[in-house]
């Protein structure tokens, strides 16, 4: 799995990042600037709806994810087995809908090496922060 780049907005006043992009910062009535954030983060919380609203199939897995880049976002997932609060996950956008998937150690290592080997200043800085997250996550033993 490769970390997808997710479109976001950044507040020029307080640096807050939001996903998806928004016109105004929730804390300041100032226009936000376009930004991107890597699609890797941690589970803040999750739930499974057994009688979801019309248009959704049961069971519906919903998670709130905090991306390493700072923004939180809602995601759907295939399952919640094996995940817990603090689990590292990858986030991908498919047809404008975010999905999380639990990253096993192999996935995370692959992600780390692929990013690290790609070169370029931006990629290097992303991979550095990813690496930190990966090792942090691993040290908690939550994979």
């Amino acid at each position: 799995m490769i970390a997808q780049s997710i479109e976001a907005s950044r507040c020029p006043r307080c640096e807050r990042m939001v996903v998806p992009p928004a016109h105004y910062c929730p804390d300041h009535p100032v226009a936000m600037e376009p930004a991107t954030v890597a699609g890797v983060g941690e589970i803040v919380s999750f739930t499974t709806l057994h009688s979801p609203p019309e248009g959704f199939k049961a069971p519906l897995h919903i998670a709130l994810i905090e991306l390493k880049g700072g923004a939180r976002l809602f995601c759907h997932g295939q399952e919640t087995r094996g995940i817990k609060i603090g689990s590292s996950v990858g986030v991908e956008s498919l047809d404008g809908v975010f999905y999380f998937s639990h990253m096993g150690f192999a996935d995370r290592a692959r992600l780390f090496w692929r990013r690290a080997g790609a070169g370029g200043e931006k990629v290097a800085s992303i991979s550095k922060s990813l690496a930190k997250g990966i090792w942090r996550g691993r040290s908690r033993g939550d994979s």
Binding site: T48, L49, I62
Partner: protein
């Protein structure tokens, strides 16, 4: 700022009702006016969260003042989602405190039980951020996320949450106006069907019809509104850094205590917004009534029971009294009024100061009111 007193209180029985919403509001409103000994208030504040979609009627302030025979009385309608009732109390309070009027009738209600449950959930769910709603989030879904996070970070347990529902059902059994009047066991709560993991059916309040009303006056009466405060937070839950306490409640409580000139230590009775059982525990801590991390234990120990140190939701709360949306904040006010006046037959506690807390949406627009018996 003028002192504001509660001279009259009234409410309908909550539950499945066949009457129209204007009829329910009239029943509560006229009862409160009779209680206050006032035929015609100087102003009227009407709370209804979404009568347009639940009942198909609009221009609700005028509809109600005409229906009540008060067509010439200046009327506004207020709305802050599920806390609309307390927002209406605030509007009436501000009106009298500012000296604009001497008597204000505050009424609120909702009629929903005639509509299929999925449709009701969808209409209530519109108080959720539109983007988050595209993920199928409903109020129980967001409450499920909050609950799981609180279990992890605050050590909230399933048994503590279940005990809230058990206690509130026991209180509701003593309230003739409550939606549910049957006690439930802790096992029944813990074995009820999963709604939004880890939340189960018996952690969630029912869909109720009903109305409640208070008459506020500048003339001294039995109960005074010592403080009332509002707190807000982002509509989008993803914009918040903390899921497990509600900034909107904390800010509202601070504002109310500041206005009253006293803190949580003087509060002897509370009506809290237990739309989902864990919210009562979070609210106990957000309002400062119980130290952070201790509300669950205190509940299991009976501290918040009818005969406890700090009775909470003597009416049965949203869980058992019921939750007709815009009626709820006013019904909480009514319950505390009746308790302070010694009129809570069958569930009377000894108290001089009570606190009511109302949550709007997923804690986007919350209120805390402090009521004090006249010395």
């Amino acid at each position: 700022m003028n002192n504001v007193w509660i001279a009259g209180a009234g409410m309908t029985r909550f539950g499945r009702r066949d009457e129209t919403l204007p009829d329910l509001i009239a029943e509560a409103g006229l009862a409160a006016l009779l209680d206050a000994g006032i035929e015609r208030p100087d102003a009227l504040v009407v709370a209804a969260m979404n009568p347009e979609e639940f009942t198909g009627e609009g221009n609700y302030g005028s509809l109600i003042n005409t229906h009540l025979g008060l067509a010439q009385v200046p009327t506004v309608r207020v709305e802050t989602a599920t806390s609309s009732g307390m927002a209406a109390v605030y509007a009436g309070f501000a009106d009298i405190a500012a000296g604009l009027h001497r008597t204000v009738l505050v009424v609120g209600g909702e009629k929903m039980s005639h509509i299929p449950t999925p449709r009701v959930s969808e209409i209530i769910g519109r108080s959720i951020d539109p983007h988050e709603r595209t993920y199928g989030t409903t109020m129980p879904a967001l409450a499920g996320l909050v609950t799981r996070a609180a279990m992890q970070s605050r050590g909230l347990t399933l048994r503590e949450m279940a005990q809230v529902a058990v206690k509130n059902h026991a209180n509701g059994a003593r309230n003739p106006l409550a939606h549910f009047r049957e006690p439930v066991t802790i096992e029944a709560v813990m074995e009820s069907r999963l709604v939004a993991d880890p939340l189960r059916l018996f952690h969630c309040c029912p869909i109720s019809d009903g109305a409640a009303a208070v008459v506020l006056t500048a003339e001294p009466a039995a109960v005074r509104i010592a403080g009332i405060g509002q707190g807000t937070d982002t509509m989008a839950v993803r914009y918040r850094s903390d899921l497990t306490s509600f900034r909107a409640t904390q800010a509202a409580a601070q504002a109310a205590y500041k206005m009253a000139g006293f803190g949580p230590a003087r509060v002897e009775l509370a009506e809290l917004h237990d739309a989902f059982s864990p919210f009562e525990l979070i609210s106990l801590e957000d309002t400062g009534l119980i130290p952070v991390g201790k509300a669950g234990r205190a509940t299991l120990d009976g501290e918040t029971a009818l005969d406890g140190r700090l009775p909470v939701n003597t009416s049965g709360g949203l869980k058992a009294r019921g939750h007709p949306l815009a009626a709820t904040g006013i019904a909480q006010t009514v319950e505390i009024c009746w308790q302070l006046r010694g009129m809570a037959e069958g569930r009377q506690v000894q108290a001089r100061v009570g606190l009511a807390q109302s949550i709007g949406g997923l804690a986007t627009n919350n209120w805390v009111a402090l009521l004090e018996a006249r010395a």
